[in-house]
Each structure stands twice: as structure tokens, then as C-alpha cells.
């Protein structure tokens, strides 16, 4: 769920028509930038009811999550969407063989700001739930309780690469045989005022909306509110349950730059894409579509294009390239999972969405469509890079399921 859709079907439609959730939002008092792709009309009670969960689960979710911070409400909705879509109520897997990984850290800053006035009034008025809601791991505790998950679980922190790295860890848990099924949730990053302003003061955040990633006039990212969940499953388990996969994750690369600063590194980015391809056992020319990290950062977009060019050197032809962030904003910790869903629906439905806000494209051999373009592609690549020197890349294979 995000600023342009409440569920994956709506998301596929929104991507196809190029519906952007980015706007200049009122209410960011004292903030220099108001560009944001916030959720609109999200009501947890309604979203929950729309999923028609079993009555016990419905009651438990209202009780555990009804008054929880926004990020946890969003994680709960997408986890239930994914659980239902994977048929885990009809054909369950025993709890000890299910894991849950949440991509996200620093998820509680906005909640802390919201309860601070009560604390300042009188320290004893700080809600006792702060001990629970003040921790990122509340997502793991809550989702595992609601869905009876007894295998392993943890949060994954890699800044804007958290989503991809969480998927990588899910693949590893399944590959090791620790679990057969693993939920991977990209947690909605609800920025506090300080965090928002911090990004702006760094020069990383766009002052206003309207210019998209890979445009020569780009001037930073627009934050987006979004959450997504994928159910990863071993082939054997899916076969036992008689379920078809919507896609296969066939390779990944992950690497640190060894850099505490926020600048990206072309060598690290190119290396991680190359490792992902090697891991997947395919060459670059088999990739028909790349979902870029593409934040709209001046240096970031330039570095990624240069890294992509390095990986494709010596190959004729270049794949389609887009950045979902032009439509959804930068969902930060959740980005990698939101964009994984974008890759899956585009592979399935045979289109690459347009690059929003692209008027004067940067020079590149990669094809940057501005509107949805038909494609018949088997293999796709999805990049995620994060402050702190994180580089990640995933290879997806279309299934006909």
C-alpha cells in the first residue's frame, strides 16, 4: 500500500496509467520542503475489514494494532494481504517453519515525537505502550502473534537498501532450510520532523515536486509513505501446497562500500549488479528490464547510470529502465519491497511503467520510457542502495503462474 494504491491490483493499474502520489503537502509546519507522497484516506479498520480475515484474527488485529503507530498498522495490512494472496489460511504451513523479516529501522521516531508532549506534561503520563511501540521489533512481535509465526524473525537495517537486504535474508533463511516460508515486510517509514529536515539540510531531499529521477534538472528525493509484503517460499513447500509463484527470485548481490558518508560508489554498484547476475546464472543481455534505485538524487542517479553502463559494456542493446520512486516517492526502508512488487506486476502484466517527471532525460543508452511501454521480458533486475555504503541487487524471473 502506498500513496497511489491500497493493494497490489490497484498498484498495477496505477503504475500502468502513471498515477503519481507526489504532491506538495500542507501540514509540514516549520519544514523547508513540503514535497511528499503520503498515504491518503488510510483507515486501518476499513483496510482490515476489506481483507475479510477470520473473525478471531480480525478481533486480535483490532486489539493489537488498532491504536498502534501508522507504520505498524501499514505492516499489518500488507502482511495480511500477502498471507491471503499466498493462500496460507487455506493451505497453512506449521508455525515453526514460517519466518518473518521486517525491512526497517528508526521506524519509531514519529511515534516518539507524538508522545513527547504527554511525557513533558508529566513523565508518568508517557504511555506504557512506549515500551512496545517505541521499538522497531514491535512489528515482528505483533505480526508473529497475529499469524502464529514461530520460526525465526528479525528486523533488517540497511537504510534505503533495507527492502532488498530483507528479501536477501529471507532467501538465505529458506536456502538454509531454517524455514519453508518467510514473510518479508517493507515497513512504512513515517519520518519525524527532524529526519525530514535533516535530509533536506544535507541536500538530499527535493524542495518541491515535479521533477523526476533521471531528469537533468533533478534535485533530490521526495519521501513516500508505503509498505509492502512478499511471501517467499521454497519450491518444495509451494509444490506441497499446490501454489504457483508470482515470480522467482533467482539471484542477488550485496556489498558494502566501506563508507560512512552518504555518497554512492560506482564500483560498488556495478560490482553488486554483476554478482547478482552471476548468482542468477545469467548474463546482462538476458535482462530486459531494470527497476533502478533511482531516487532523483543528483549524484545518485548519475552514479547508478554509470554503474549500469559498466555492467552492460560489451553487450549490444540496453534494457528498459524506470524508477518507481517517480510515482510512489522514495519509500525509504520499504522501497526495496514496494519495488519488488512493482517488478513482479510489470513482468506479469507485460509493461514497464513510465518514468514520472522526466522532461529532459539524462544521456544514457538505457531506454527511459515516459509512459507505460509494452514489454515481454523474462528477467529483471532491481537495485537498492543506501546511506552507509549499502549496495544490493536482485534478479527476478517471470513465472507463468
Amino acid at each position: 500500500m502506498c500513496s497511489i494504491a491500497a493493494d497490489p491490483d490497484e498498484f498495477a493499474t496505477a503504475l500502468r496509467v502513471g498515477h503519481s502520489g507526489i504532491g506538495d503537502r500542507a501540514g509540514y509546519h516549520g519544514q523547508t520542503s513540503r514535497a511528499a507522497a503520503d498515504l491518503t484516506d488510510f483507515d486501518f479498520g476499513t483496510a482490515l475489514a476489506d481483507l475479510s480475515p477470520p473473525p478471531d484474527l480480525h478481533r486480535a488485529a483490532v486489539r493489537l494494532v488498532g491504536r498502534a503507530p501508522l507504520s505498524l498498522r501499514a505492516s499489518t495490512v500488507v502482511a495480511l494481504q500477502a498471507w491471503r494472496s499466498a493462500g496460507l489460511w487455506e493451505e497453512p504451513v506449521v508455525g515453526e517453519r514460517v519466518g518473518v523479516i521486517v525491512a526497517g529501522h528508526n521506524l519509531t521516531a514519529a511515534h516518539t515525537d507524538a508522545v513527547r508532549p504527554r511525557y513533558l506534561d508529566n513523565p508518568r503520563y508517557l504511555p506504557a505502550t512506549y515500551a512496545r511501540h517505541g521499538l522497531d521489533t514491535d512489528h515482528i512481535g505483533t505480526i508473529s502473534q497475529l499469524l502464529g509465526i514461530h520460526g525465526e524473525g528479525f528486523t533488517v537495517g540497511a537504510a534505503s537498501a533495507s527492502g532488498n537486504l530483507a528479501l536477501i535474508n529471507g532467501i538465505r533463511l529458506i536456502g538454509l532450510g531454517v524455514v519453508d516460508v518467510c514473510l518479508v515486510i517493507g515497513a512504512l517509514t513515517d519520518l519525524s520532523d527532524l529526519e525530514r529536515q535533516g535530509y533536506y539540510n544535507l541536500g538530499a531531499m527535493a524542495e518541491q515536486s515535479g521533477i523526476g529521477p533521471f531528469d537533468t534538472a533533478r534535485a533530490g528525493f521526495v519521501p513516500g509513505q508505503g509498505a509492502a509484503c512478499l511471501v517467499l517460499e521454497s519450491t518444495a513447500s509451494a509444490k506441497r501446497r499446490g501454489r504457483a509463484a508470482s515470480a522467482r527470485l533467482i539471484g542477488y548481490g550485496t556489498r558494502l562500500d566501506g563508507n560512512a558518508a552518504t555518497d554512492p560508489d560506482v564500483t560498488g554498484e556495478a560490482a553488486v549488479m554483476a554478482s547478482a547476475l552471476l548468482d542468477a546464472g545469467i548474463t546482462a543481455d538476458r535482462i530486459g528490464y531494470v527497476n533502478a534505485h533511482g531516487t532523483g538524487s543528483d549524484l545518485g542517479d548519475r552514479t547508478e547510470l554509470a554503474a549500469l553502463e559498466r555492467v552492460w559494456t560489451g553487450h549490444s542493446g540496453r534494457p528498459l529502465l524506470n524508477s518507481t520512486k517517480g510515482l510512489t516517492g522514495h519509500c525509504l526502508c520499504a522501497a526495496g519491497v514496494v519495488e519488488a512488487v512493482a517488478v513482479i506486476v510489470q513482468l506479469r502484466d507485460g509493461f514497464a511503467h513510465g518514468n514520472a517527471g522526466l522532461r529532459t532525460p539524462m544521456a544514457t543508452g538505457f531506454r527511459l520510457p515516459t509512459t507505460a511501454t509494452m514489454m515481454d521480458v523474462e528477467y529483471a533486475l532491481s537495485n537498492g542502495f543506501g546511506f552507509g555504503g549499502f549496495n544490493t541487487s536482485l534478479v527476478f524471473h517471470r513465472t507463468n503462474g
Partner: protein
Amino acid sequence: MSTLSEPSTELILAAVREAVVTVVPEVAPELVAPGRTLTELGCNSIDRAEIVTIAMERLRITVPIGDFAEVGDIASLVDVLHRHHP
């Protein structure tokens, strides 16, 4: 201590009832009565702590956490809250 400024037990029970209904929305308000315990109304330890916090905030009083150790039911909770006010 003037009787005019001292919150009555009814007021305190009302604040506790409001707090319970906030934390456990499915509980019928009339069940929040002196004879019952929070546990039987479906509250776990975090719920009970949160109910106390919300009630104190509503009543504008402060009670040290240790004072709640002896509390067994709603009647004794109201009693502890009643004993403490600025």
C-alpha cells in the same frame, strides 16, 4: 486538603472506565465495576499499565509505580488513585 478539590471515587471510577474502554474497546463499560479485575476483562500487563497511565493523566494526578503492586481488582485501583492527588 479541601473536600471541594478532592476527586470523588465516582469521578475516579469514571476515569478508570474511560481508560479501560480506550485500551480494550470491546469491553462493555458497565463491566468496569469495583468487583471485577482488569485481567478478567481481558487485560495483559501492558494494558493494565496503560490504563493506569491514562487514568492518572485524566485525573491530573501522579502515583509512584510501586503503589500499584498491591492492586488486585478495580476497587483497589480506584482506592490507590483516590489516595494520591497534588
